[in-house]
Amino acid sequence: MTNSIKKISELTIKEKMVELEINKKFLRQALNQLGRAREEKTALKVELTALNKTKTIMKDVIGILEEAKKKTEALDRMKTEFISVASHQLRTPLTGIKWVVERFLRKEKVTKKGKEYLKDIYIATQRLSNLVELLLNVSRIEGEKVNISLVQLEVVGFIENYLDECTALCDKKNISIIFKKHPKMLKIVTDSSALRNIVQSIVSNAIEYNIEGGIVEVSLEKKGLYFLFVVRDTGIGMPKKEQPTIFDKFTRGSNAQLIKTDGTGLGLYLTRQTVNLLGGKIWFKSKINKGTIFHVELPLKSRSKKDKI
């Protein structure tokens, strides 16, 4: 009996020891896990601090960027405002010179040579005036100060009137203008000064970058809710690789530079902006030394910005 009890006890003790051993193992494992968890926690804490730091930095960066954006916008407004004020202040003395010269030519007795000089002053001043007007128009369109004011007008006569004004410019290079009038009359609703700027820019380019004795062909046709104004010239054309950027600001064809040194590279930029303003499209085809053909598609009824909302 005692022996058997002893045996059982021994067995129990062994079992208990095994059990203990297992518990110990579990405990060790648990301790290990705890240790790892602690390590992980520390690592997470470090990571969190780093993240918080990044967050703060990002906030700062966003702040700086927002500040920079505001500054850029303010600068842009200032630039536009400056051009607008400068243009206005330039116009007054320029008008003064023009008016005085005009009266001088009309009223005072001057020698033939004197008259020639006065006319030169007048032409140069006029050129300067045109440049100022161009800059003013660019600053206005960029400052989005343009409100289109819509009127009804007859576009065939409108274009014809402008072409008549080009006579002096054509005579210089013996250029002929052909106007294909189909239809003979077309009533549209548009902003007349914007339309004039577009017609003037395209036609005067066709004349000025034409060859001696060249031809400018102007046509007009109705196309659904739009009308298409096309100007084809026999001029110098545009180099192929420069064509994609020809509407960009301050961009001129390299061959244009050789013909006319006083261009600004703003003309076509402004023309496209103006066409967009009226809700139209402009595109062209050009071949060097052959000529250029410009297409301007404008709505028969332009709408003001307010209507578009």
Partner: protein
Amino acid sequence: MAKLKIVLIEDDNILAKVIYEELEERDFDVNQAFDGKAGLELVRSKKPDLVLLDLVLPQKHGFDVLEELKKSPATSDIPVIVLTMLGRDDDIKKGLKLGANDYIVKSQHAVAEIVEKVEKFFGKETRPEAKKPQEKQEKVKSI
């Protein structure tokens, strides 16, 4: 017949001088002011047949001058032509809304054309001298 009276309110000396001389030569009786305040007083005292009014003026802006002229029964019937260098549609619309009879964007015209406009306003015949030289228009062929 008595001369037609014009009050010219323009702050730029050169522009004022040229318009003044042109108008005097065409037999108008012209009185000048070089700022908005003086201009307003001059119109009140002279009661002219027409006011030529610049917009950007010292002392008082042309729009304010126009508004005050139109507000007072003593001067509200005097026609006003706005002379502007601004030429923005907004300004033109505002001028007309305030009661101006017409507007002229100075930089876009020869001085002769401006005087022509004044004469036309009074229904006078324009003298050939004031006309712009006509250019021949034969270059443009029509098909």
